[in-house]
């Protein structure tokens, strides 16, 4: 549309300026929205590729209702001081020889490196992370777990807990981990040490871990008593209890 003759029709000037402003604002908004849409489309390609894959156990690589991200998304929580010097991990409960290790002691225990996917209950998954740490099964063995223990409580800073059945927590990919893809965790992701229970929703992988407690009776944890599913199997979409 051509510009009106403002000398002849001065009363149109304000309306025209307003129209130009609205056009430019709409164009800017469309540009930003389009950028966001492109990001979504790119991310969807990763999700589609992951959905086409199968795990070794025959299940889909990506559980239902999940989309992939290439990084861990910060999800909040009440962090510890993140300090390796003050870090202590207590292994206790229904065990014959409870013990406590500091950070240096943890690194002296038998170490494993595992590739694992993780799945957040809010709908994102991060695939193929390489996690280094100590297996929970190794901690159970070292502490001499008693026969009656059937559950594991991961204890974390400020009283956070997450309960996991012993059979799940002692799988070979379940760790007390301090390194992802060769790097230490950022504080927001649980530094210095966090849990890793990759085949359950990620809230079970308690950040800022302080203890591993083996117990006979199940004790629902922080989120489990707030309406979240007690088991949290992503392939069964056990999000809420």
């Amino acid at each position: 549309m051509s510009r009106p003759d403002f000398d002849r029709y001065p009363e149109l000037k304000q309306a025209w300026n307003r129209r130009e402003f609205i056009k430019r604002a709409a164009a800017g908004t469309a540009f930003v929205a389009l950028g966001g849409a492109l990001v979504r489309i790119a991310a969807d390609d990763l999700t589609k590729a992951a959905r086409a894959e199968k795990r070794a156990d025959g299940r889909a690589r990506l559980p239902p209702g999940q989309r992939t991200l290439e990084y861990l998304r910060p999800m909040g929580g009440d962090p510890s001081d993140g300090d390796v010097k003050t870090f202590k991990l207590r292994v206790h409960g229904d065990v014959k020889t409870p013990f406590e290790v500091d950070y240096a002691g943890l690194l002296k225990l038998p170490q494993v490196t595992k590739e694992a996917d993780v799945h957040c209950v809010t709908g994102w998954s991060m695939l193929a992370g390489v996690w280094k740490g100590v297996q929970i099964s190794m901690l159970a063995e070292k502490a001499g777990i008693k026969g009656e223990a059937k559950h594991v409580i991961l204890e974390a800073a400020h009283g956070f807990t997450a309960n996991v059945p012993l059979a799940d927590a002692t799988k070979d990919n379940c760790l007390v981990t301090y390194r992802l893809n060769g790097k230490p965790f950022q504080l927001q992701h649980g530094a210095p040490v966090r849990g890793l229970i990759p085949d359950l929703y990620f809230w079970k992988s308690a950040k800022w871990i302080t203890g591993v407690r083996f117990v006979k009776d199940d004790r629902p944890g922080f989120w489990e008593v707030r309406g979240y599913h007690n088991h949290a199997d992503p392939w069964k979409e056990q999000r809420y209890g």
Partner: protein, 201 residues
């Protein structure tokens, strides 16, 4: 009988002054609201940066001081406030919260900076738990109601409620109503999903 012209002039004058009063509050609530709406996508309280560098690996026979200097120099940082070595790790900590970790031939520099502005506006936005601010926020809400209602009657004629105003008000009311209807409303979303920021994963 009140002079209609004079009545509308008063309405406009008060609307103008209330508008001036509301500017600061509106900026706080609008920016804080946008920041909190997108909590899934960013951390509005802290900005975390991470970079990695390659170095010649620290040898086992290096003293703590030698190891710390090698890593600090590689990271372009000065003398660390604290040094910790365990296994194959050398960790340096600085008073500003920066953490530098060398693992073999790789150094990771993690910096965390507080987002002062966004922390402040989101803290103010969430009135819960702030006894005094709660009443100030209530007063602002009343001012907003005045702005909305007085705005309906400020201009008469075609540009007022008669035509343009009615259309725009109808659109403004229709958007939330249609969304409520289309989404099923709160009843359809009554699961116990908490705020994403509360989920520890």
């Amino acid at each position: 009988m009140v002079d209609r012209k004079r009545w509308r002039a008063w309405l406009r004058a008060i609307h103008r002054d209330v508008g001036y009063l509301a500017v600061g509050f509106t900026i706080i609530y609008a920016i804080g609201g946008i920041a909190m709406n997108h909590v899934d996508d960013w951390n509005y309280t802290y900005n975390s940066k991470e970079r990695t560098l390659a170095i010649a690996p620290v040898t086992d026979d290096a003293t703590d001081e030698q190891a710390a200097k090698l890593v600090a120099d590689a990271a372009g940082k000065g003398r660390a406030d604290d040094v910790f070595r365990a296994g194959d790790e050398v960790r340096l900590e600085y008073a500003d919260g920066t953490k530098v970790t060398a693992i073999g031939a790789e150094v990771t520099v993690q910096e965390v900076k507080s987002r002062f502005f966004f922390r402040a506006v989101t803290w103010l936005h969430a009135a819960k738990g702030k006894q005094g601010w709660k009443y100030i926020a209530d007063a602002y809400a009343v001012l907003l109601l005045y702005l909305a209602i007085s705005g309906l009657f400020m201009i008469k004629g075609k540009l007022g409620l008669k035509w343009r105003g009615t259309l725009l008000v109808a659109i403004g009311v229709a958007v939330p109503v249609v969304y409520l209807y289309a989404s099923g409303g709160p009843e359809a979303h009554a699961d116990p999903k908490p705020r994403v920021s509360d989920v520890s994963s």
